[in-house]
Symmetry: C2
Subunit: 384 residues, 2 copies
């Protein structure tokens, strides 16, 4: 019987940032690189899963046609910031179930031509219209977290310093600059205690990955197995009467990660590198705690002690993360996946985490108003 374990055989991305390319052109860049890396032709594809949030209907088909792909079934999905990660998940599961042998996962977002500042809220979302948009929600989480654990503004700012430093070695990143803690804290206030250098930017970009059944892959290509991937959805937030629900979506991240670890039989001690959803600095701290990578309440100290830096024992967001690589919503999950593929196959260049073999990926799809619903996707990856 064919081995249907889903395996990454190639990835590609555009550059990230404000740029003149259309969504279609960005997809062509990412898809062309991924297909070439995987030694796969457009005619080999059984299906395409494409994640995007704000693209108009037809963008997927138009973009893929421009990449030389027609006549292949296309499933377009939306899951807020985790749209691309959901595309990866559905593609990987279709391979695992034996439905497809070779699929392409794609993510794309073109934002800089119409969004200035925060993403505009849904006109039907009364929570968002009352001010509970994502910067505000993350800021509330940050304040609560600081209160509970005695964490300082400098601790929060450190995440930004670290991720911007990582991005210096990422030629595709949107922001590549060395910042001090003071510079982060003195940058423009967005939602107290978060300053603009603690918020991920509005970006344009695309990412793509070829996923194939292990049985059809060749050892001649660089291969990374998707050991497990899981989509879970969350409850409403905030439930301030629940002491354990103190920060945005910690429970959901924990629940999703636990399932991935169980299904993949990976222990957190084995993890060499992670890419997580640092849409805001506080997000990275809460997420690595919720994933069980360090004890609850110790994420800030764990980071500031250097354990999550590139030379540390568990590098987090070596790509620069959303904060510095950029955050083109639908593309982000594929950008995270591409970074981990490069890390796990020794192709990460100056950013390489030596000997990385096992990785976790996490993306949080909170909608434009963070109250509207959440779809978290987590995956475990290992060098084959």
């Amino acid at each position: 019987m064919r081995d249907t374990a889903p395996v990454l055989t190639g990835v590609g991305t555009s550059n990230f940032g404000k740029q003149d390319y259309s969504a279609e052109e960005l997809v062509v860049q990412a898809v062309t690189e991924a297909l070439e890396a995987a030694h796969v032709a457009a005619t080999d594809l059984d299906a395409i899963y494409l994640g995007t949030v704000f693209s108009h209907p037809g963008t997927a088909h138009r973009a893929l046609r421009a990449a030389g792909i027609t006549g292949v079934p296309i499933v377009t999905v939306e899951n807020a910031c985790a749209s691309g990660t959901l595309a990866m998940h559905l593609g990987a599961e279709s391979v695992r179930q034996g439905v497809h042998e070779t699929v392409l996962a794609v993510g794309v977002e073109k934002m800089t031509n119409w969004i200035k500042g925060p993403i505009p809220p849904d006109p039907y979302d009364i929570d968002a219209l009352s001010g509970l948009i994502l910067p505000g929600l993350y800021a509330m989480s940050a304040s609560r977290y600081q209160h509970l654990y005695g964490v300082t503004p400098e601790d929060l700012a450190w995440i930004s310093v670290k991720n911007h430093r990582n991005a210096i070695d990422n030629p595709r990143a949107q922001y590549r600059g060395e910042y001090t803690i003071d510079e982060v804290l003195e940058s423009k206030p967005i939602a107290d205690p978060l300053t603009i250098l603690q918020c991920s930017p509005i970006s344009d970009g695309a990412g793509a990955a070829v996923i194939q059944a292990r049985g059809v892959t060749s050892a001649d290509t660089s291969r990374v197995e998707i050991l497990a991937s899981v989509l879970e959805s969350g409850e409403w937030w905030p439930s301030l009467d629940r002491a354990d629900d103190r920060v945005w979506n910690a429970e959901l991240i924990a629940r999703t990660t636990e399932r991935v670890l169980r299904e993949s039989q990976v222990s957190v001690d084995e993890v060499d590198v992670v890419e997580v959803h640092d849409a805001f600095t506080i997000g990275e701290i809460i997420t690595i705690e919720a994933m069980g990578l360090c004890p609850t309440g110790e994420g800030a100290a764990f980071s500031r002690e250097g354990h999550t830096s590139r030379g540390g024992r568990l590098p987090v967001n070596p790509s620069g993360g959303l904060l510095s690589r950029g955050h083109p919503l639908g593309a982000t999950g594929l950008a995270q996946l591409a970074e981990l593929y490069w890390q796990l196959t020794g192709q990460a260049g100056q950013r390489q985490v030596p000997g990385a073999q096992t990785a976790l990926l996490e993306t949080m799809g909170g909608s434009v108003s963070g109250l509207s619903g959440h779809g978290c996707v987590v995956a475990a990856l290992r060098t084959l």
Copy 2:
């Protein structure tokens, strides 16, 4: 081993048409009816697949929360007019593959508050901006079809007369009126030869269906098996140098249907009732031909002879179709599915096709500009 054949155990819809309800409220109406019909609780659901085209991110989560559903993974998909049908397809396949036991497929669109006239084209779609929007594309198909087969304007108009007549017995339909062929032809011109009564309207609405693995269903509920469902994507159109590519997407519809018939082992002779994508009158004629329900070039005569009328030997769109029930994009596939479920379980009231046991469903997802890409979904259904 558990029988994982996907089975419909309940459906629900809102009314269709211009109405004051929000997308969220429409979803609540459809989902509540579907869960009650299936005797399924929100806590029984393993996953939700929701199709929509123009809803803002978060709508799915907000709507489902309003229906009492939180903490269930939600996959939101977009496939133009076949978004809801794609949600059904993905949900059914997740059950067939044994990934889930009980899923909810939902479709919704809220259009009347912001669209007047044709759906506005994507600002990046140069084909659409040059005028090749859907009414124009269907009109070109109609002209070509008339030229090839000597079909008259009256033949086209008959489809509108038939479907509006069917809708008189559908209390949820948007337009329920008796029209003559002359009245159809004398209605406002939209894109020659199509008049407004030959174009589906802008609508608000939602639909929902509970899909369960046969092994967990009870014979006490009214059950319809989804024998097969298929998503296929098309090539670019038009290729006027190909004589067989004379009308919009006929090749794609034929290819998708052939796969469904093969996988379901259903013969067209066994089909008792169909719901197809009559976004425009010409669409119904081309579609029933492409599906093999009548010979190529004879669809208009076949219809006008009464064979596709409710008392005929192969009733097409007994619900009134998109032309009369309405066409809230993301909801349409679920509305078609609901009609066929009611027909196949003897619950279609005044619209009942006596003894209907086997049905086909077809939805064409052409994007706002019909050139941008196409995702056709076809399914075969049978009373269990």
